[in-house]
């Protein structure tokens, strides 16, 4: 499998705090890759570095063999890297239908059209509907996003990233804060993502990680501790020591 996304000796310091230290991560094309680590290990920092929200202090980020370290977030999206956020980052005043329409229009290059009405492009609407159904949002599609149940907002969060038709999708704790009853819907959605999309999953939920991932990287104090297949990671005594401690019975 060729590598699609890679970091080379990535460093990020905030003043004296080291959030990422010499991280060289390789994500293979089509992989279901999970990134785990205790709180404060620098997982979200790494996602922010990969998506361009933060600039690294040192090191490079490669996408498809191309150096993207200096690209802005929206330019990386256009190349095919999309993400979800740990804390919902949605457009409170737009409806799910409008939200997805914005992302789809943008990707199709018609997001700057000012002379025609939003909603007047058949292709965009067709695609929006497809996503609305795929992500179970049909019953809330024309409600203001701000009033949606939390679980639906979480689904929209993923749908919105997916609307960018990413080649690599970074999921930052997709099930975070979702009540147990609505959880299966999120997990099923994540599991059903098409296999031509490479997924990098950041997660605390060990059930989800071990049922989903085919490769796991463990991040501790901003550095990669180890990497490997789920069974190997589950057996690794160092991982158990630093991370699985309280969840060793999974």
């Amino acid at each position: 499998m060729p590598t699609v996304l890679a970091t080379e000796n990535l460093d990020k310091r905030f003043g004296g705090i080291v959030a990422a230290s010499n991280v060289s991560l390789k994500v293979e094309s089509g992989a279901r890759h999970a990134l785990i680590g205790p709180n404060g290990a620098g997982k979200t920092t790494l996602v922010n570095l990969l998506t361009g929200v933060l600039r690294p202090s040192a090191g490079r980020i490669m996408f498809d063999g191309r150096d993207i370290t200096d690209l802005k977030p929206h330019e990386r999206v256009r190349l095919g890297i999309a993400r979800t956020f740990q804390i919902n980052q949605l457009f409170a005043d737009l409806t799910p239908l409008e939200t997805l329409g914005v992302a789809i229009s943008e990707r199709r290059g018609s997001g700057r059209d000012w002379w025609r009405l939003a909603g007047s492009k058949h292709g965009v609407m067709e695609e929006s509907i497809e996503l609305i159904e795929r992500f179970h949002l049909a019953d809330v599609m024309s409600a203001r996003t701000a009033i949606l149940p939390y679980g639906k907002q979480r689904l929209l969060e993923i749908a919105l990233a997916f609307a960018c038709r990413p080649r690599v999708l970074l999921l930052d704790e997709p099930a975070a804060g979702v009540p147990e009853a609505e959880r299966h819907e999120i997990l099923a959605t994540v599991a059903a993502l098409p296999h031509d999309v490479t997924v990098l999953l950041i997660e605390h939920d060990m059930d989800l990680v071990f049922s989903f991932a085919d490769c796991i990287s463990v991040l501790v104090n901003g550095a990669l501790l180890t990497e490997g297949a789920p069974e190997a990671i589950a057996r690794d005594p160092r991982v158990r020591a630093v991370y699985l401690g309280e969840a060793a019975n999974v």
Partner: protein, 338 residues
């Protein structure tokens, strides 16, 4: 959860619903144009209201739709005003409508150049930067008094008849019809823009710039674009004032003007296009009425009204508006079933 199978046209209808013409809107514009014939004696103040409405619309485009706060929108208002004045004074462009377009485009160009200064930073820095730009322009006007007439203003402007036909009379009949028509046309354009994919992406940027960039939107690009458009709108408003009063002064750049237009927008409500127009209407009528009651202290009442609006909050005034709307809707003729 019963979800009937969806068809793209149904979804399209749901999205385009925002852009539908409401009955009350149609009534509003018919009423606005009716004032041309109904209140021929009030055309001077109505002209001013139309111009201020356009000016407030320009601020609404950036504040209400893109979340850019400005206390210096008068920079473009004054710039457009002086452009129109100089074009007429030097007989460069004698057709008022053409001069208006040129003034608008020139102001938009100025908006484009200065937009890069307001991209960065918080609301506070934006307030300071926009305020600063207006002050700088005003002082430039003061310094180059050979061109601008300095503190005396731009004198001796003669505006030719509109389209070579309609002379600007002292009662303001032509001026009002002209200003209202310009407001209407630019309102239609703004309505189109805010309901377009571009407009929707602006709302996304305003709502959450972090996420907007995470779905591939160039946030800065959008802000530059809308700031440029809004500057053009403000410039046209300023040019209209110059043309209809045949005078331009440095007061057009003043802080009071920027502050007044923000006041109007707050009174009328941001984030919907009628906010600026209603705000200008209420502000001007209130000012006119209060000034006739208490010529010296009218600003006291304006201030009081403002404090009440902010303290009571728009949300609590909302039921009132709903009640008024219902009243209007009751007047609506029954639709015949299609």
């Amino acid at each position: 959860m019963s979800s009937a199978p969806l068809a793209p046209p149904d979804a399209a209808r749901l999205v385009m619903n925002r852009a539908r013409w409401r009955f009350s809107e149609i009534v509003f514009w018919i009423a606005a144009f009716a004032t041309i014939f109904l209140f021929p004696g009030r055309h001077l103040i109505l002209t001013e209201i139309a111009i201020l409405g356009l000016f407030a619309l320009s601020l609404d485009l950036i504040l209400g739709y893109a979340g850019i706060i400005s206390l210096g929108q008068a920079a473009f208002f004054g710039f457009g005003g002086y452009c129109a004045g100089l074009l007429a004074q030097h007989q460069l462009v004698t057709e008022p409508a053409l001069a208006l377009v040129i003034a608008g485009v020139a102001s938009a160009a100025l908006g484009f150049v200065t937009s890069f200064l307001v991209l960065r930073g918080s609301d506070l820095t934006r307030i300071m930067v926009t305020l600063g730009i207006a002050l700088v322009l005003r002082e430039l006007g003061n310094r180059y008094d050979g061109l601008t007439g300095g503190t005396d203003g731009l004198q001796g402007i003669v505006i030719d008849p509109l389209f070579g036909q309609f002379r600007f009379d002292i009662f303001g009949h032509t001026a009002y019809a002209y200003s209202l028509a310009v407001l209407f046309i630019l309102f239609l354009l703004a309505r189109r823009i805010v309901n377009s994919p571009f407009g929707l992406s602006l709302r996304a940027v305003k709502g959450n710039p972090l996420r907007a960039s995470a779905i591939g939107i160039s946030v800065n690009g959008r802000l530059v674009a809308v700031y440029t458009i809004a500057a053009g709108y403000a410039g046209v408003a300023g040019a209209l004032l110059t043309q209809t009063t045949q005078f331009a002064s440095l007061d057009m750049f003043s802080f009071e003007r920027s502050a007044d237009v923000l006041l109007m927008l707050i009174i009328g409500g941001t984030g919907y296009l009628y906010g600026g127009v209603f705000g200008a209407l209420i502000f001007k009528l209130m000012q006119d009425w209060l000034a006739s009651l208490t010529p010296q202290y009218w600003q006291f009442w304006i201030g009081l009204v403002l404090v009440v609006i902010v303290l009571v909050g728009r949300e609590r005034l909302e039921p009132l508006r709903g009640a008024i709307r219902k009243r209007i809707l009751r007047l609506r003729p029954r639709k015949t079933a299609a």
